[in-house]
């Protein structure tokens, strides 16, 4: 349980004069569900973007499965086993749900132009495997019936699930979810919780940004709290919850002593 999968040390990210992330450091163990919380604008999504190669970091960096990730492109990071979802859903909106997940298989498959044009036996077998796996994943997240629907026309909750299925299609070691429960109702959130527990049980580590504290506390083994780009607390969810600095960051300090959620 204690083997480190992702290690982040001294991470800085600057936007002009704003220090969006300041010396952020943490480590995620293999098989963990690790929560990332903090008030709006604390730098959670910035941390995700730095981790997945969308922004280069200004100082510090990540080690993932024993390899430094700094300076790699997003596609290289995906190939190394980090897949993510987006806070503001970024599906391939006009394609079918199935196509979305099939595109997620890109990084684990090989067929090139010649294979595609000549329809070699290897390419055909690969195509069949891609489709089969994509359908399995749609079933896994519970939207198999929606396979041929256009992504844009899916209900909001299903779009979030589709993003998870697409991310899982890249066979990640670490699944990074940016507010997956946003816009979901209570039933959907409960289903999501079960799904994430299943994902973890099947061997994928999860990094979770979430504002739904009940979900975070019920799901996460450990939690990192960011405020103004700094990590102000880290540890098991129950302990962090009672940390006065965390309560201050969330409630403005006036109501010290009241536990969160």
């Amino acid at each position: 349980m204690s083997e480190v999968l992702l290690e982040c040390a001294g991470l800085d990210k600057r936007f002009g004069g704003v220090l969006a992330l300041a010396e952020v450091g943490f480590s995620i163990n293999r098989g963990e569900i690790y929560g990332l919380i903090g008030p709006n604008g604390a730098g959670k999504t910035t941390l995700f973007n730095a981790l997945t190669g969308i922004y280069p970091s200004d100082a510090g960096g990540f080690r993932f499965a024993g390899e430094a990730l700094s300076g790699l492109r997003p596609d290289e990071i995906a190939a190394r086993g980090i897949a993510r979802t987006f806070q503001n859903i970024r599906l391939f909106a006009n394609l079918s749900a199935l196509d979305n997940v099939m595109i997620g298989r890109h990084v684990r498959t090989r067929a090139g132009v010649f294979g595609a044009v000549l329809r070699t036996r290897a390419t055909l077998a690969e195509e069949a495997a891609i489709e089969k796996r994509a359908l399995e994943l749609l079933g896994y997240v519970g939207i198999a019936a929606r396979a041929n629907d256009v992504a844009r026309q899916l209900p909001y909750g299903d779009q979030r699930l589709l993003e998870i299925a697409r991310a899982l299609a890249t066979e990640p070691k670490l699944l990074a979810l940016d507010e997956p429960a946003a816009g979901m109702n209570a039933t959907e959130t409960l289903e999501l919780k079960k799904l994430l527990q299943r994902v973890r049980a099947d061997g994928t580590t999860i990094l979770l940004i979430e504002h739904d504290m009940k979900l975070v506390m019920g799901l996460c083994d450990r939690v990192l709290v960011l405020d103004y780009g700094r990590s102000i607390a880290e540890g098991p969810a129950r302990e962090v919850q009672r940390d006065p600095r965390v309560i201050e960051a969330y409630l403005g300090g006036a109501v010290a002593g009241a536990p969160l959620a």
């Binding site: 997945t52 190669g53 969308i54 492109r73 997003p74 596609d75 995906a78 190939a79 897949a83 993510r84 987006f86 970024r90 599906l91 391939f92 909106a93 006009n94 394609l95 196509d99 099939m102 595109i103 997620g104 298989r105 890109h106 990084v107 498959t109 090989r110 067929a111 090139g112 132009v113 294979g115 595609a116 044009v117 329809r119 390419t123 690969e126 195509e127 891609i130 256009v150 844009r152 697409r166 991310a167 299609a169 890249t170």
Partner: protein, 360 residues
């Protein structure tokens, strides 16, 4: 919906395919009976279908707006002309030159693609437009100090396609049927076109085709899913360009003469219009668009003048002007009533039906 049901029946589908095949095989003789000029027009139309399918990879599949596509056609044409004409006194066989032309055009495609990878939409359009013009101006001026392209005079007496003693430019009679040069080229072009359509269809429904779609839909999400967007966009430019190169080589051989004047901006716009009119991203739509825009202007050329003469006793408006007027009107009507093209791709239709504006 009824049309879809007819095609759902496999027998009817094969019957349709057979009828189209017979029509295409018989077409050049029907045209030749009207005049050989019409066979040449059909050949040019096939070349434009070729070009449109190439451009469709860049614009339709990968969503990269290219306004200088004709440059690749020019490159292919000049490669053929330089390697098979008295200009350098080189006379390589066409099956050697066409692949070279495709390769050189492909190289130019990468040359254009590499510096423009970060550009999208309007900005990409401007750079590609400039690229097309640069190529044409180079062709116009590369006659000094060393005469490479022969400048504005162009290159003439370009070799026709030859297989040993069999030349595509000579007329032959087989079983009482007269096969003129253009008719022989027609069948060769048709065969190559069939190949290009198959290649396009297969590419579209492949891992690569899906990656192009992903890049077009959302580049950031595509990258996060592990698609190397740099490579996949360059691949689109390179593939599109090499189709253009092959078409250019055939153009040079069929015409026997080329000059920079054949590769002006209007030609790029024309090919793009064919793609847009037919239906970006849908191969059959693109074919239809190219055929329509190749034939209708020629039909007008042959009908408008006699019609005016019959009605008014003289020609009031020149055919060229009417052509452009009708062309403009057609585009406006299309944008109003069928913005995704005559035969739109399902995905494009959804994109354009998007009620909330969305990012361009």
């Amino acid at each position: 919906m009824r049309g879809a049901n007819i095609f759902a029946n496999p027998q009817a589908k094969w019957l349709g395919v057979a009828l189209i095949a017979i029509a295409l095989i018989g077409l050049p003789f029907a045209l030749a009976s009207v005049g050989t000029a019409w066979v040449r027009i059909a050949n040019l139309a096939i070349l434009f279908v070729f070009l449109s399918l190439g451009l469709n990879i860049v614009v339709g599949f990968a969503g990269l707006l290219d306004l200088g596509y004709i440059a690749f056609y020019a490159v292919g044409a000049y490669v053929y002309a330089l390697l098979a004409s008295p200009h350098f006194n080189l006379h390589l066989p066409f099956w050697v030159i066409l692949p070279i032309g495709a390769l050189v055009a492909c190289l130019f495609g990468v040359l254009l693609g590499a510096p423009t990878l970060k550009l999208r939409g309007d900005y990409l359009a401007i750079v590609t437009l400039g690229f097309g013009e640069i190529v044409r101006i180079f062709l116009n001026n590369l006659s000094q100090p060393v005469n490479i392209t022969n400048g504005p005079q162009g290159i003439s007496r370009i070799d026709p396609f030859r297989f040993g003693a069999f030349s595509f430019s000579q007329t032959e009679s087989v079983l009482g049927l007269v096969f003129s040069g253009p008719i022989k080229y027609y069948y060769l072009l048709l065969l190559l076109l069939l190949l290009v359509i198959v290649v396009n269809l297969r590419l579209q429904h492949s891992r690569i085709g899906r990656a192009w779609e992903a890049v077009r839909e959302d580049e950031i999400a595509a990258r996060a899913m592990g698609i190397n967007t740099t490579r996949i966009k360059l691949l689109a430019f390179a593939m599109g360009a090499s189709f253009g190169g092959v078409a250019g080589g055939m153009f040079a051989a069929i015409q026997g003469f080329i000059s920079p004047e054949s590769f002006v901006l209007v030609e790029s716009v024309m090919v793009l219009s064919m793609v847009v009119l037919g239906g970006m991203g849908n191969i059959w739509g693109v074919v239809l668009g190219a055929v329509l825009l190749s034939f209708v202007p020629e039909l007008l050329r042959y009908t408008v003048e006699p019609l005016q003469k019959a009605l008014f006793g003289r020609s009031i408006i020149e055919p060229e002007v009417i052509r452009m007027l009708l062309f403009g009107l057609a585009l406006v009507l299309m944008m109003l009533y069928r913005p995704a093209g005559l035969l739109p791709s399902a995905v494009r239709k959804r994109e354009l039906a998007k009620p909330e504006g969305g990012a361009a």
